[in-house]
Symmetry: C2
Subunit: 331 residues, 2 copies
């Protein structure tokens, strides 16, 4: 089968073996996939991953006699052992033996088919388009900030970053009725947060403002850059909460004394609950499709990655199945 395989660099190949599912796995025919910044980081050497890239997708379960056969699905990308405490009591997201779709020890979604444990699958209601369903994984990660925020921080919540994840977090928080200030570098991206009722602010305005504090009890750091934490530390009130979403690989230089002096809470947050994301998409409370800026066929997957890496580009999709949808593609 065809797929975008990362070895020295990501290359489209057409001789990948079809996935052979183990006992608890289903095979999914991928319909559509999304390019994430993590894919670009992996391509640049992060995690030393080798395999098929891609972890944001929607697809259809192969005929296998199960009750999920033929269903359109998304999937939790963390495949735990199923037996450790984290797998039994929680979601297996921290199972020490886990594989992660397209990221760690498991071929990903930029290919015609993938294998994933059945328990990871989440059916997608018909009302959710393929374009929207592709966002289930990052949207689940966005909603996960609600799991670590204090139950009732004084509004507003500040979201740092107007990239894909920052915007999805603003969408998720707004859909939960939270007051949000989105801060970023790009007026045209911030407009997407404004459209869901967030207040917005350019970083440059913040630098010019008299007070560095916005008097907020909660800052979500989703800038994707090392400077985001420094900014968050300067913005948050004493005893406030910073939710870290940006994974900066490698050493960062930061003055952490405000964490102690101001008794801050710095909470890491990675993946979330796919069912919550699908429910939000199905209810119409969140529509992430405004983030889509371009799409390519699987045959142009290398180009899709390059496009996603251009400055200021939001979501790039890869149509994996032959024209499941007649939306025009970039060529």
């Amino acid at each position: 089968m065809r797929g975008l395989f990362l070895d020295e660099r990501p290359r489209l190949v057409d001789d990948l073996p079809l996935p052979v599912p183990s006992g608890d796995e289903a095979v999914v025919r991928v319909r559509r996939a999304g390019v994430c910044d993590t894919d670009l980081a992996l391509a640049a050497g992060y995690m030393r991953y080798r395999g098929v890239l891609g972890h944001e997708f929607v697809g259809v379960v192969d005929e296998d006699g199960s009750d999920l056969a033929g269903r359109r699905v998304v999937a939790d990308i963390n495949a735990g052992c199923g037996e450790c405490e984290d797998c039994r009591r929680r979601d297996g997201h921290h199972c020490a033996q886990r594989t992660v779709l397209g990221i760690l020890g498991r071929h990903g979604a930029f290919a015609e088919r993938l294998a994933i444990p059945r328990r990871n699958l989440v059916p997608v209601p018909d009302v959710v388009s393929d374009d929207a369903a592709v966002f289930a994984e990052p949207l689940a990660a966005a909603f996960a900030v609600l799991d670590v925020l204090p139950p009732d921080p004084a509004p507003p919540i500040v979201v740092l970053g107007d990239g894909k994840l920052g915007l999805l977090i603003a969408f998720a928080l707004r859909s939960a009725g939270r007051e949000v200030i989105s801060i970023g570098h790009h007026a045209e991206k911030l407009a997407l947060a404004e459209a869901v009722g967030a207040r917005t602010m350019l970083e440059s305005e913040l630098d010019e403002s008299a007070s560095p504090r916005l008097e907020t009890d909660a800052v979500i750091e989703a800038t994707g850059s090392a400077g985001g934490l420094r900014r968050a530390l300067a913005l948050v009130r004493p005893r406030g909460t910073i939710v870290l979403k940006t994974t900066i690989a490698g050493p960062t230089e930061v003055d952490l004394s405000p964490v102690v002096v101001n008794e801050l809470r710095v909470l890491g947050s990675r993946c979330g609950d796919m069912r919550r994301a699908v429910a939000a998409l199905a209810s119409g409370r969140v529509d992430p499709t405004a983030l889509i800026v371009d799409r390519f066929g699987l045959d142009r997957a290398e180009r899709a990655l390059a496009r996603a890496g251009e400055p200021g580009v939001l979501k790039v999709l890869i149509d994996v199945a032959e024209d499941p949808d007649p939306t025009p593609r970039s060529r």
Copy 2:
């Protein structure tokens, strides 16, 4: 009056004006004081503090007609405005207008007298010796880790650091019935943690152990060095908690990606509740006096600071009042 005044460097002076209390303040005759690493940091330029040093003390309230007159007391070192939300609803430890005894805008305890708001005073029961009462402030800070730890982390709790604060934290946790592993560089200091029932481990043993993880859900970082957080990040389980007690001024280089990938909670903790500390001392559940390694009269306060700065030295006391206790002093 006499006192250790920090200007360019700490100097004993004998011409300090007596403190003139404002309406809500009491004047306290200092009996005994303790040297903290923060005093050494301030002497080295931290916070650009200028004034009388010292914030760990026990003293007697001057005759002033109040119900506290003549009482032996310790004090919360944070003097808030009394009117802001933090002062009204909480403890004023984060009042933006606060002064902090011997640290920020308020002369400290290495002097014959000090002024402090009456509401900060905590009477000391007779059963608590001056030597023990001097520890009320750092012991309150040690107990504060219990306020931010999850209610019931799986035992044991790892305490990184066998300095004064690390040991007091081990004492506090043990007094609360928690299982503790203290990790440090000095067998003779770790013995003090062992004496209260903590398990102990040398850093070097940890480096030699096959697995860097101790399988702990909670690490208290009290090493006083920038490497402590790196160590804590390597030790703690996914979804675990790191309580940061070390204030490292200035930029630190640290790879924070485990915070996100492992969804850790990094919680800053500074000061604590003085009443809890005094109650623990009065009950006998905590006896911190084993940390005392030396004592000097106020006339030798400069020497006391130098002694406290020697490698491996634990608590150095300054007897401020003339011989309130006949314990022999270093000369």
